[in-house]
């Protein structure tokens, strides 16, 4: 696994924020809300979730929109949307440095930012990416160069209780046995990531007390 680094309480103007690094990929996430929302997006029974992902250079294009939709569907499963009707929660993700793992880093950053903001969730969630190299070996958390060489890339998102799959995103083709092998490998890694989340949040509250 690549090195994970994270920090919360990153931005002073957001309700919750975090910086998450996996290897060379760095994503900054911020969460605002639950707050007011314009009438067209107001739901009588649940909160509106807006996810905005921006790349470090250039305009946000179709690829970024696709990422946004995967991320927002994942987050929507985790947070308890019925607690705050007629409100919106805004999740903003900014890629600071890219090295192929934008999706999994963004999801992990979003989870920590939501925890930092104190948004109620059913469980935490953590994402792991792996790719299948041309030799057939499974590489966990590859670099961009390794992804270019690979035949398929799979990202799994697991919940933090039972490590069930919340969402899976795949690019390229692979057979079902390899898929299952990837799933098991990623599931193990997800446990480590959840431990990192726990430690980060514990540290924050230790810091608050002193």
């Amino acid at each position: 696994m690549s090195q994970h680094l994270c920090e919360i309480g990153y931005l002073s103007r957001s309700d919750g924020s975090s910086l998450y690094c996996i290897g060379g990929t760095v994503v900054l996430a911020s969460v605002n809300g639950p707050g007011d929302v314009k009438a067209s997006n107001r739901h009588y029974n649940r909160t509106q979730l807006d996810v905005c992902y921006s790349p470090s250079t250039g305009q946000s294009m179709i690829g970024e929109r696709a990422l946004e939709s995967v991320i927002s569907k994942t987050i929507e499963q985790a947070i308890i949307v019925h607690l705050h009707p007629r409100t919106a929660i805004n999740v903003t993700l900014q890629e600071m440095q890219s090295d192929g793992l934008a999706l999994s880093t963004s999801i992990n950053a979003a989870c920590l930012a939501l925890l930092d903001a104190g948004v109620q969730m059913k469980s935490t969630f953590s994402a792991v990416t792996c790719c299948i190299a041309s030799s057939g070996a499974i590489i966990l958390e590859p670099t961009e160069a390794e992804i270019k060489e690979s035949s398929a890339v799979v990202t799994f998102v697991f919940d933090g209780l039972e490590y069930n799959v919340l969402s899976a995103y795949q690019d390229g083709s692979l057979d079902s046995d390899t898929f299952n092998l990837c799933l098991i490998k990623c599931q193990l890694a997800a446990k480590d990531i959840t431990a990192i989340f726990r430690k980060t949040i514990e540290d924050k509250h230790k810091f608050d007390k002193s």
Partner: protein, 397 residues
Amino acid sequence: MRETPLSTCERAAVLAAISRGVRLDNRGFLEVRDINLSFGKEYGSCTVTLGETRVLAQVTCEVVEPRPSRPNEGKLSISVRLSPMAAPHFESGRGNELMDELQMILDRNIKESRCLDLEALCIMAEESVWQLRVDVTVLNHAGNLGDACNLAAVAALRHFHRPDVSVEEDGRVTIHTFEESEPIATYMKKVPVCLTYAFFIIDENIHMLMDPSEKEERVMSGKLVVGLNPHGEITSLIFPGRVLLSKKDIMNCIKSAFKKAKFSAEMIQNLVDEDIVKRKSSVKVDGFAKNLISDTVYASHMVKKTIDKGQNFKFQVPRESDEENGSLNDEMDEDINDEESGDDNSDAKPNKSDILWRIQSIRQASTKDDDATHSMETDGESEEEEKKPKLTAQDLI
């Protein structure tokens, strides 16, 4: 989301503090917040923090056709974006007044000042030139975005290296990767610096302070944003708001800005050069992963610093009678003297523990003949002195 309104008591607190010669964050009137630059893994990506204000700038390049009117010049484009994470009321993909203002400041300071040698970006006249694109993203809005964006864009441009190219005889252009051939640095003739002065009118006295925080920006009556470079050229000057200043006062502002600009420009140059040297010597670059400091850490660092400094910091509320007679001039002098006694050690070089670089504010600006700089009381006689038709840089130095 809507912007949180500023309450009347917050507004009153800011004004009351300023009229008594202190600022809410315990800074001097002419003191700039800590500046910290960190560079990403790639060339030309840079994050600047100015206190809690945080801006990301990223430079990219591509080969394009030149403009027919200027066949041997490269292109430079700058775009500013206010991310919704900077403040809850910013909406993604939608511009606002602030964004237009920042875009204008950057265009004037960097593009129109021609600080970059665009002819050096030419590969083949009329055929192909480099286009540099600077993306400036505001990540946290804690006041004075103009200075922060300018700083980030300039540092990123100076840090940027473009790939080497070779042109063959038949006119084919080959772009070499960084491994094949040493990348080429951008050549910047002059370093543009942007400085912001905020003005507050309290009981008909005008108070001036530098580098306003977000609260101060919302309370201030007007501001003066000067873009200049250490070579004595003014690249932009905007003065919005409801303040009337005499020509002389503005000139004095600019004069003191020139002194500060020299330090600021040197600081950018040193930090960028240091990082490039490090990059060339060592193999591995950490990038953003290890170099960024969060606002929580920064805030606790500042609190600690204030407590450590606390022995000689006395908070005094002047008596009512003093305050009415006391002009801005006296406050400034006191302020500056305090700074001189307290800050000597922190001005020199950053310690290992003290990662935050601090811009050296110039205290000489307060010497006797320059006192007029800070006394912004409106006096009528000053206009006669400036009869020169055009404001040239020579007049100012």
